[in-house]
Amino acid sequence: MQYWIAAIVALGCFATLPFFLGQYWLHAAIMGLFYVMMASSWNLLAGYTGQVSFAHAAFAGIGAYTSGILAVKAGIPPLIGLPLGVALAALLGFALGSLCIRMGGIYLSLTTLAFSEILRIVVTNEYEITRGTMGLKIPPLFGEYSKTVSFYVLLIAAALMLWAIRRILDSDLGTSFRAVQNDETAASSLGIPVVRVRIIAFVIAGAMAGLAGSLYGHYLMLITPHVLSLDLMFLVLAMTVIGGMGTFVGPIIGALFLEVLSEYIRVYGEFHILIFGLVALAAARFAPEGLVGLWRGYFARKVRSGQ
């Protein structure tokens, strides 16, 4: 109960942001929401079922390019294109998840990496359709372009997605996710349909990334192969690791923390990625459970010394 109150208060605070943020910081807030969606959905797959996929940015790209291309080439309104993009991302999530079912660990990571690179190379080279690295200009989701409207659209989408993730984690499915991560053989001996659980995780995470990518594309109104590059994949991974992989709030905190940090270190230009990387490396080395782990450790020590 306390949990939901905290969530609603946080959401309420976020909803007031457009009233006192300038255009620049409003943009940062929108990017932060996009990263929250990406990191949280990747965490559902990698942190909870242990399938470290490198195709998450690729799924965002599928969502963005599907609704973008449909809008530009076929004149289909983005509000119809967006669900189609999400559906295609879910379908490819199903395909990739099924492809990976016989593999675990590093083999799965390599397959998803190959999938992601194939997609990036195709999108970069099919210039006629995607306009390659020049980027594809696409219309906003609906009506006229407005940052404030985009902010609320992404805020609602992020809130619904986090709510869905929380519900999944609290359900039997969430328990199966963790069981599959800890020990697949033991999970299957307890009657958990391991294959189905792993594929479901891929489909859900793929659809969520597709949604995030599509919203992101229609907000920026320009999509480039950068969306499905390993650079974006790195940001998502770094945010999750810094926040705390395998925890619900970790990716949210990591995404917002890194987005705010990146606005402050933007003056260093290209090198802000280096700073990100060093922070992530330090987190992975010294605090494998991320900021959430540090906080919990601090809290636990405090309780112990108080007794």
Binding site: V52, I106, N125, A238
Partner: protein, 287 residues
């Protein structure tokens, strides 16, 4: 016909270099079950050091090559000790750590060396008429020969020395090897350093031909993964065959199918192999 033989030669030359850096990945996978995402970045670092030693410090290019390979070996030891050792037993975590490390290194190179291509001086110049079919650059022929020498030396090391026996024992059965007195931590450390040194050797051999920029390492890592999977995880002979196959397929594919999609062939091969024959061409069936 002479076109075809040129493409084939290019494929074989590139293939043997692929085999060289893929052997490093295969060694580390076989011993530690760790995929080193920063493999390509060590290749790049070797190229930078080789250029630095030869041009800025004025060493003979051959000496510069040997020195930078040694430097990469030491760097590999450091990476193992600082970042990989705490992740023992958690394959996914080592993957994440080396992925982050590769991004950090790329951006550090950008900061230190700038975005422009760097290359060490050539050891030889000119070109040779190969079988009176086509002219082929001497530096490339030398690269082919050097790579072959390093690979043969590596196979001798694995087959005939005490260290090689330990490596084979550990990759067959880790616990059993520990039981008969192998110190697993030291084997991990040295194997990781040696694996990185192989990337370094490939780097110093290839950079006079293809200058390095901060991000070319990504392609090197990905190519190495394709070769290792194709040959069978942890199989050294498979690496050599896999490297040659990939080199030839890429060059013939680029010539006759599509040069824009040159890199795509490798990834398609990777997915097909993992799906239909996950143990690779020469691997043990254990996936």
């Amino acid at each position: 016909m002479s076109d075809f033989s040129l493409y084939l030669t290019n494929g074989l030359v590139m293939g043997i270099i692929y085999a060289l850096f893929a052997l490093g990945v295969a060694l580390i996978v076989g011993i530690m079950n760790v995929i080193n995402f920063a493999h390509g970045e060590l290749y790049v670092l070797a190229g930078y050091f080789s250029a630095l030693f030869a041009t800025a410090l004025g060493f003979h290019p051959a000496l510069a090559m040997a020195m930078s390979t040694v430097v990469i070996f030491v760097v590999g030891l450091l990476i193992e000790r600082v970042f990989i050792r705490p992740t023992y037993g958690n394959d996914m975590y080592s993957l994440i750590v080396t992925f982050i490390l590769s991004i950090v290194l790329q951006n550090a190179y950008l900061l230190i060396f700038g975005p422009y291509p760097r290359k060490p001086p050539n050891l030889v110049t000119g070109a040779t008429n190969v079988f009176s079919l086509f002219m082929y650059g001497n530096q490339r022929l030398l690269g082919f020969g050097l790579a072959l020498v390093v690979i043969v030396a590596f196979f001798i090391l694995i087959k005939y020395t005490w260290f090689g026996r330990v490596v084979r024992a550990v990759s067959l059965d880790r616990d059993m090897a520990a039981l008969v007195g192998v110190n697993p931590e030291r084997v991990n450390l040295i194997s990781f350093g040696l694996g990185c040194a192989l990337a370094g050797a490939a780097g110093v051999i290839l950079t006079p031909i293809f200058p390095v920029t901060p991000t070319v390492g990504v392609g090197v890592s990905l190519t190495a993964f394709v070769v290792v999977v194709l040959g069978g995880m942890g199989s050294f002979a498979g690496c050599v065959v896999g490297g040659l196959v990939l080199g030839v397929v890429e060059n013939l594919g680029a010539a006759y199918l599509s040069s824009a999609y040159k890199q795509l062939f490798g990834f398609v091969i990777l997915i097909l192999v993992l799906f239909f024959r996950p143990a690779g061409l020469f691997g043990r069936q254990r996936v």
